[in-house]
Amino acid sequence: MVPIVAFLLLRLTFDFLRDSDANLILVVGVAIVVGVGGVFFLFWAMNRLVDLFPERYAERVRPYVFVGPALVILSVFLIYPVINTIIISFKDANSDSFVGLENFTFVFTDDAMLRSLRNTVGWIVVVPLFAVGIGLAFATLADRLRRGEAAAKSMIFLPMAISFVGAAVVWEFIYSFRPQGFGTNIGLLNAVMIGLGQEPTPWLTSEPWNNGFLMVTMVWLQTGFAMVILSAAIKSIPDEIIEAARIDGASELQVFRRIIIPTILPTIVVVATTMVINVLKVFDIVFVMTGGLNGTEVVAERMVREFFIQGNFGRGAAIAVVLFVAIVPVMIWNVRRFREQEAAR
């Protein structure tokens, strides 16, 4: 009851805001206050309502006051959509009638889709490899700095605060290309090429390497994440072990290969898995930098294109289902690991 009343109140405020040609700053201010205040009011009001119940029922109902909103939101915004998307993937463009496996046939036969599948596999391999590799090397080396470790690490980490769209613009600027007669090349990479006596190159339109140049953007964004987590793992290795190995005459490289790597291997696996999931979902970088042209399609970008731009719900849903199926093993693994942790608790 109360959630519905609260929702209607929110709606009324919004209709009022939308209809009045109020100053945007005012609208935004009211929106923030209503949004933030509304959720606290919701819990408070529901709790008061339960207080009115006879005590026997009140205590039985109260947990659902606390957990209820979360369950409702999870059901409406995650569980229902997942089931619905699977159903939609077997229907036609407007979800009017079932078409069997037609959408999935499209996913695995269409030229652009096949390219996107191939490219996505490339992304999954290359990006985690480089991001984890560079992150691990940097974390290991920075660990040996006497001063400036924190500063150096936060510089690598900085791109994590930048949006994919922002990063795409930043790197488009690096790759900027102007053909002969269209002005100076102001992109850094082509300036370097000219400095080396080479011809400027249209980086983002030369297949197949343009895929690599897009991946660079993702590596730039994600290395900080790998670095921070691996750094914490390296620092958690007890000093005595490393010291003992050194006393036994192990070289620094041997310490790294025989002690550090095996000890933090579980963390490396988790970081790489997280990164694979991030890469599977990457859409913005390709969407902004090349729009999927010149052989740079990726699966997540195709999904948005089919569903949002072409308006083909069936195909969009089928592509999403393919992504989902790729992630299901991680889901199962997560649940299994959680169960083990709980059992150990």
């Binding site: 939308r18 939609i88 040996r144 690598i156 900085l158 599977l280």
Partner: protein, 315 residues
């Protein structure tokens, strides 16, 4: 003593180690030069954008940004015009406000809902508690793409089972409320998971003694749990803030590109598509979109790193 540290012994241990650097072998020139080189490579792209955003349009389009490094004090080259035109005529001022209106509630709402739920999962007894939480863990990695189509249809045409209209068109597409709810849904599993790990590891004695003193669950939650959980709440708040502020997909689909509602990422993407060669404007616009997250990031980095270590290692 905080439970996030309990969750991430690496960080806690690291801090102890740092104080007595006996075992740390110090690197020589090779280490220092490599680190410097990598840091330089990582910074150059952002620095180039920052410098270009303050240069005159003609200068940006005729010479590379690195040329100013030769004589940085030639004041004739510097200008604020790019920012002026982007913020005003370019609509990025409005977009900034819209980003705020989307991001602040979309950060607070999931945290509030998740904190209440995390308390219930940790300290209240009700049937199905364990199963429900396992479902939350399972939902952690569901890709966004899996939810977009049904939610958009829900917003546009309501829900019905066959002929029966369950509830009518809520008209949520293109509203702030619609975006808040969508972001709340996507952020909720991680928020609930992290906060439950934290709140669940608070000592039960304090909760028991509060109960003996006659406090009800709501009071315990509000007066005891929330203040004790500030580190975990802050860590997730930064996460969610950066995620929502930097999101393009959800904003594009549920809010759209209309000038009065579009957020910074959507505006930047449109500018990049429409005027991809106007680098003086693009760089300024890019920086407008990065400014707030960079400030948040640098001022609250400690919380963020802690949260990342907890969230990342856990999955």
């Amino acid at each position: 003593m905080s439970a996030v540290e309990v969750e991430t012994p690496p960080v806690a241990k690291a801090r102890v180690q740092r104080e007595e650097p006996i075992g740390v072998r110090e690197g020589g020139w090779f280490v220092r030069i490599t680190i410097l080189a990598v840091v330089a490579i990582w910074l150059v792209p952002t620095v180039g954008v920052l410098i270009s955003s303050f240069r005159h349009a003609d200068a940006v389009n005729s010479t590379g940004w690195w040329t100013v490094l030769a004589n940085p004090f030639r004041t004739a080259e510097w200008t604020l015009d790019n920012y002026r035109s982007v913020l005003d005529a370019g609509g990025f001022g409005n977009a900034f406000l819209n980003s705020l209106a989307v991001t602040l509630p979309a950060t607070v709402i999931p945290i509030a809902i998740a904190a209440f739920a995390a308390y219930a999962f940790s300290w209240m007894d009700f049937p199905g508690r364990h199963v429900m939480f396992v479902v939350v863990v399972g939902l952690l990695v569901v890709p966004l793409q899996m939810t977009l189509i049904p939610i958009l249809r829900l917003y546009v045409s309501g829900a019905s089972i066959g002929e029966f209209q369950l509830f009518p068109d809520p008209d949520l597409a293109g509203t702030y409320l619609g975006v808040w709810l969508a972001h709340t849904g996507f952020g909720l599993p991680l928020a609930t998971y992290l906060l439950r790990n934290y709140i669940g590891s608070l000592p039960s004695s304090i909760i028991e003694s509060a109960k003996i003193d006659g406090a009800d669950h709501f009071t315990i939650f509000w007066r005891l749990i929330v203040p004790l959980s500030v580190p975990a709440l802050a860590a997730f708040a930064i996460f969610q803030f950066l995620w929502v502020w930097n999101d393009l997909l959800v904003a594009l689909i549920f809010l759209g590109g209309g000038r009065d509602v579009r957020v910074l990422t959507v505006a930047l993407r449109e500018l990049s598509g429409a005027r991809g060669e106007d680098w003086h404007l693009l760089t300024a616009a890019a920086f407008v979109s990065m400014a707030l997250p960079l400030v948040v990031f640098f001022s609250l980095q400690r919380f963020f790193v802690r949260g990342l270590t907890a969230g990342g290692v856990k999955g």
